[in-house]
């Protein structure tokens, strides 16, 4: 029976088509213009068809948000080769900022918007978020064990570092740094990473 397999394949292709075009619209045209009807127009199907492949709009946003985490992981992978864990931690900070500036819409979806989180309140846990957080914790632990950072609680340190990084990025993305120019904000952010991590260093 090759037919049912072809159908399965076609169903997956349709889901992909919706996801790819939704993502493109979300990134290129912004959240405002990404409505179910606009997506339907783009893929040349009726709005109702989308609901045969995705439960609701939040489910699409959840999948896009997951893709964002894949992109972030790619970005951070360029950091694994650094031997010194303290240098790795610093680089991780700078790459996080770079990711946020290069993909503000993804970042918004991943860490600020409410919509994608609604999906997992009922079903699954937020594994893509957990993975990155535990990854940070491991680097911090390594830094402490190797004596690069003060002997602080690694969980508390990771919590603080992530909060701090996210604070800078989200204030920038949601336009709360109006007292500074964009250039100033970028400069302050990178200086800030050096200062905060520097203060944790022995």
């Amino acid at each position: 029976m090759g037919i049912s397999e072809r159908k399965e394949r076609e169903k997956q292709e349709m889901r992909d088509l919706i996801l790819v075009e939704s993502t493109r619209m979300f990134i290129e045209e912004g959240y405002e213009k990404t409505s179910i009807r606009n997506i339907a127009d783009r893929i040349e199907y009726s709005p109702a068809t989308i609901y045969l492949y995705y439960k609701d709009k939040d489910a699409i946003l959840y999948d896009i948000h997951e893709q964002g985490f894949e992109k972030l992981s790619e970005k951070l992978s360029g950091m694994a080769k650094i031997q010194n864990p303290y240098e790795r931690l610093l680089q991780m900070g700078h790459l996080y900022l770079q990711f946020a500036f290069e993909n503000p819409e993804y970042y918004d979806l991943m860490f600020i918007m409410r919509a994608p989180m609604k999906k997992l309140n009922e079903e699954k846990e937020w594994s893509c978020g957990f993975d990155n957080y535990y990854f940070l914790q491991d680097v911090v632990k390594e830094c402490i064990n190797a004596g690069y950072l003060k002997p602080i609680d690694s969980e508390l340190a990771s919590f603080s570092i992530w909060s701090f990084m996210h604070g800078m990025v989200s204030l920038a993305i949601r336009e709360r740094f109006k007292m500074y120019s964009e250039e100033q904000v970028k400069q302050l952010m990178h200086d800030s990473v050096r200062m905060i991590v520097g203060m944790m260093a022995k």
Copy 2:
């Protein structure tokens, strides 16, 4: 001419009525249920009437967001009596967290949501935001001058502290701390403030 003054007064009263009831709905019923039509129902006027007193929905949200800053200022005023600037800075941090936990909807509007910022892209500057930031800067400067904090750049330090505080709060409000219970998050936050400010101390 008492008539034009009475009219002026009535106009202001109507604006107040809209603002008070919008705020009540926003805080009690949440953002979802605060639509122009719902507000109109509540004040027993037609939706179109609201547009005679507010340019658009964002203008209402801007005024509510300003009220939030007043509430925050009140909260922080309970900190002025502390003589020691380092203790004052620490207390400021804890009060900021307390404000956010007691008024998450206000906090969201003040520092996360895009809507209220749209209004001031054309007209004025974000003075209520500026005031609080400069206030923090002053406390930090005082701490440095009095020798409680390391001789770091006060602007960079304030930038970092605010970012860090906001990061914790906004990750909590937008439900990104799913790896912790609510109690754990609160504990981590307050511990975190002590640790970060502690590391800036001499």
